[in-house]
């Protein structure tokens, strides 16, 4: 099943670095994530990029495979 990875503030708010979902589309997964985690997660999500297997998805209706890795990428601050 698709896995959701969460970093930085997203990890802090959800309380998890990774979580499994039974969703078949990106949209379904995000809706379910907002239901599972505290309300603030939706705000963090709105201010973050989403990647599927390291790339930006073309749309939220994108279908997810059971091996897909979805990541919540809050604003980055490397270096």
């Amino acid at each position: 099943m698709p896995q959701l990875l969460m970093f930085g503030l997203a990890r802090e708010v959800s309380g998890l670095g990774a979580d499994d979902f039974g969703s078949t589309t990106l949209e379904e997964l995000l809706t379910e994530a907002c239901r599972r985690y505290p309300p603030r997660f939706a705000d963090v999500l709105a201010a973050s990029r989403l990647w599927v297997n390291g790339d930006e998805p073309t749309s939220t209706s994108q279908r997810l495979d059971r091996t897909d890795e979805v990541a919540v990428i809050p604003p980055i601050a490397g270096g």
Binding site: F7, G8, P74, P75, I76, A77, G78, G79
Partner: protein
């Protein structure tokens, strides 16, 4: 036992909680064709927007993607500055104390102009595209850096950098 990750050809990319000494990268980068080795080290400083008396920063990364992106940045730099000898891009993760380095960029080339330019390209594109986060530990509290930027793709960040520095290449 601590095993050093080996360089891949003329690139040496690392994302890990303990980095080798940067002098290892400098020796590795110095070939017989090399006339210039540029080293950039980013270090933890005592202040940041919203944080005073910073004592350390904890770096978090999406490790697999960060490593892929470092390699993509080095590859792109080699395409632009074709005479480059070697590139090392190392990012430390975990808790990094005040004054310690969190990132090293080492570029060697026959001439300094290319080495300086490519090193600046690498650190700027890294900051715009590599998935790393900073948790600041300061006298007035602990929190995520306020200076984050929306993550761009390596391709987009590189294109933007090259167009902004057109006259220098």
């Amino acid at each position: 036992m601590f095993v050093e990750a080996e360089p891949t050809g003329d690139m040496w990319c690392l994302v890990r909680d303990s980095l080798p000494s940067v002098s290892n990268a400098m020796s590795w980068a110095t070939l017989t064709t090399t006339g210039a080795v540029v080293v950039f080290s980013g270090t933890v400083r005592d202040h940041a927007p919203g944080y005073e008396a910073v004592t350390a920063i904890t770096y978090e990364a999406y490790e697999s993607e960060a490593l892929k992106r470092l390699a993509a940045i080095a590859t792109r730099a080699r395409e632009v500055w074709i005479e480059i000898d070697r590139i090392a891009l190392w990012h430390r993760i975990g808790r990094v104390a005040l004054g310690e380095a969190s990132v090293h960029v080492v570029v060697s080339a026959p001439h300094r102009g290319q080495a300086f330019c490519a090193a600046e390209f690498c650190i700027d594109v890294l900051k715009a595209s590599v998935p790393v986060w900073k948790l600041e530990h300061a006298a007035n509290g602990t929190g995520w850096a306020e200076t984050g930027v929306e993550a761009a793709s390596v391709e987009d960040a590189a294109r933007r950098w090259l167009s902004e520095h057109e006259g220098r290449i």
